[in-house]
Amino acid sequence: MSPRRTEAGGRIDRLRTIRFTFDGAPYTGHAGDTLASALLANGVTLFGRSFKYHRPRGLLTASVEEPNALVTVLRGEVREPNIPATMVEIYDGLAAISQNRFPSLAWDISAVNQLGGKLLSAGFYYKTFMGPVIGPLKGTRFWMFCEHFIRRAAGLGKAGTAPDTARYERMNAFCDVLVVGSGPAGLMAARAAADQGARVILAELEPHFGGSANWSGETIDGMPAADWAARAAGQLEGRDNVRLLPRTTVWGYYDGNTLAALERVTDHKETPGKGESRHRYWTIRAKSVVLATGSLERPLVFPGNDRPGVMLAHAAERYAIEYGVLPGDRIGLFTNNDSAYRAALALKKAGAVVVAIIDVRPELSSEMRKLAGETEAEILSGHAVIATEGGKALSGFKVQRFDMVNGALSGDARSIHADCLLMSGGWSPTIHLASQAGAKAEWNEALQAFLPPKPTTQQWIGAGAFTGSFSTAEAIAEGRAAGLSAAGATATPAALPAVEAAPGDPDPAPVFEIKAEGKSFVDFQHDVTADDVRLAHREGFVSVEHLKRYTTLGMATDQGKSSNIPGLAIMAEALGKPIPQVGTTRFRPPFSAVSIGSLAAERFGDLKPERLTPMHDWHVANGATMYSAGLWYRPMIYGHPGETIEQAYVREARGTRESAGIVDVSTLGKIAVQGPDAAEFLDRLYTNMFSTLAVGKARYGLMLREDGLAFDDGTTWRLGQQDFLMTTTTANAGKVMQHLEYFLDVIWPALKVHVTSVTDQWAGAAIGGPKARQILAACVSGTAVDNAALPFMGIVHGEIAGVPVMICRLSFSGEMAFEVYSGAGYGTHVWEALIEAGKPFGLVTYGLEALGTMRIEKGHVTGAEIDGRTTARDLHLDWMLSKKKPFIGSAMMDREGLIAPDRLELVGIVSLDNQPLNGGAHIVEELDEANPHGSLGHITACCYSPALGKYIALALVKGGKARRGTRAYVSDPLRNRFGPVEIVSNHFFDPDGSRMHG
């Protein structure tokens, strides 16, 4: 018979049936089931194929450490691979598929890899695919050639290609005491700390609080331990100073007692609530941390220990008690310690037959004899399992007499018929977080386990099995003491909850492996066998870190939670050294897999902040297609029905040059630079002079970085003797502000200057074109706007529609143009007045595309050209480099490499085949489509120019200035665009500026 649901028992809701599919087949389970328990209840034992050998694999564990039963969960088009089935709570409509099998889980072609077992031993890939020393596939090229095929054969689940539509969020939390783990120790710690008035957060990675109390079958305070835990958690829930986080894995322990946690908010729900995020990434800052993370049971290493049906003893106990599922009917137990006897008894009570208990120890304590007697099993002390039988499911196992002192097997092997074999190789405290916090683990010979040492710099206290105190009574006492201590209180004697538990000695026998014929798995997920570990040793790998890398032991998604200690023990034996001298690797975050989405959280999707200009709603209402630039949203085009993007921007740019156009420039960075030394400060910042600028005038300025490369450009307006308004490019607004603040704070603190970001205080509209002045004249009052009152780069103050405005005559489009600034709150009001005034003159609204087109026609630079690699000379802005004063970057800008003749210089490019050009395409002297090479530089910006009637571009080209008037080619193999171009000056249109000067 196969595994089945018991008649009664378990913490599942038997009245609620849940329907789900696995590999397309429909199954049912109950509310409270995991995918693992529900499938097991349906008799499924085969969950996946192993990584390298494609061996059939079933459930080894019941929780986060599961190495075998990894599945891919499908949500619509979105697929999430490599999720332990033990961590998936079922819901109606859940669809999961198995992994690493072809064509199906039961019939897997690559399972032939098992036959070639010797070939695929440790280091196989390194040894086999270090290619020949000559020829087309020499060296690593051969590996790269083979890798594609290997990756397909060996591996885990496949990532999806559909974008993840789920929402992720991030939370910051602060508390006095963070308790990690909610077993009896964690619950007691949380309660004790909360009683002291401390702000407590209790995080539990499972859906239910209680940890081992949920399946230990013990009695606490006269009630079943699970009920005691539920009551304790319920009492905590009602408290104002306690926050309970179920389904929350604390996965990282960082400096300053900062911990990272992942809360799986809606993974267990059929449909998430409105606005509910899928995962929540918690950053928790705790004054003190109680680590009550429990311990992980270890497998024993023996031939065939990976066959479906072989599982950890406590996992079987958990399936029986918590989920009401029997993992088999005829059950054997193989152990080196006392803890597993309780599991055998639990399965007996749940209805299974315990056929045999095989204990490596020659003598059993009288207590264990009594427990074993209750199971009615045959007791084989001083024996070991040397093989398992069956195909894709266990049908039995072989035992032989075993001497645990020298590991020798003797006597005749005997077969025992069974469909489930429990194994227990002792327990390892879950010390991962303590290890991350910097503590070096200490080996405990009696417990045969690494224990967490005393904390060093971080403020944490351990409790329960985490510290190696494996009994519930100890956990309760230590938990309370840790909670009090973490809350800053001294422990006082108190009556503790009474525990009735099965007896048992916590010390296991020091046996990790049974050496017999066949593959004995150490790392189930990466298919690392005991022989692989010994092979690594024979080949000279003696450090545990090297062993890990060479065999990949402990490097799979489970990070060796079940395999680290057995692997270490086998290595230690091979080296002839005791385990503590071999050492252990240090654990690093994350404790278990973390969704990338949760790390990105608010930086994507609808949680990303938006910056909208004052006129945003107007743009949207008037047909603008909005374009996201950084956090800003800006009109890209104001398209007419049926227009392409190119048609729209060409119409907008042509309209501007023929009559007038208006564009929203509110996103430009604006910084008020004020104070007695403001002019002096600007002289030091900019390459050109600002102290000579008259009040009421503006000047174009260029800033360099300290290393002499171009940094940012923009106009700065002198509004008063000590009052300047600096504008920066949209993208650099924050960086320029920081640059200014740094120099004022750190380098020149004596300068009396104050800088204030006023980007959001001003709304800006640029209006340009032959009729721009007439439009202004029609709506501006309080000032003249003629050439005398408002010359090029002049500033006037007036009113539009009753609102005070500041108008500066400057031009980015190359037309006679004006920037009209008003208070941000009046932005739309002024904008609408300008639109109204422009109607008789044919004023068009234009967006970023037309803005870009006109600036390319004029050869102005933006961030695409000021890319952090170009100098002022490269951009033909050397006329702005003052020789009269030092400025930031002046000392470094003339270094040899920055004035070399073959530098990339700004040029214009004209397409000669009348086809569009692409940004990022290369410019070459000779075209070679088959083997593109010889790049002279690249295109930075491109467009169709209505003014020239051609496709044009700006480019950075080696020695570009000298190449003006010559032919070259565009080479763009990615987009398969090759063709002839002419290199020209970047000033395509109206090079002498007659239009803008009027």
Partner: protein, 98 residues
């Protein structure tokens, strides 16, 4: 990591921007000593232990701080305004007012 801003108190590192090695000495603006400029722009100390650093409280008061941080333990032994004694600067400014 928490940095104690003299204005704002202990704040998370996420509010701060690292602004580089605090040991750098900027040459006089008119200096033509390229070696000195080169050292200022490119040379950085990389001590295993206490390090003088400049941090800006960019998500707070925006002041630049001189922070002494142990690069091995992240322990911060002192923080101060990069401008020097802030009170004296503030006083100095007050005196300048007409």
């Amino acid at each position: 990591m928490l940095i104690t801003c003299p204005y704002c108190g202990p704040r998370d590192v996420i509010e701060f921007t690292y602004q580089g090695d605090g040991n750098r000495q900027r040459p006089q603006p008119a200096s033509q000593n390229l070696d000195a400029w080169n050292a200022y722009v490119y040379d950085r100390l990389n001590p295993a232990g206490d390090h003088n650093e400049i941090w800006q409280h960019s998500g707070g008061c925006r002041a630049h701080l001189r922070v002494v941080r142990n690069t091995l333990t992240h322990e911060i032994s002192s923080t101060a305004f990069a401008r020097g004694d802030h009170n004296s600067v503030a006083r100095h400014r007050a005196e300048d007012k007409p």
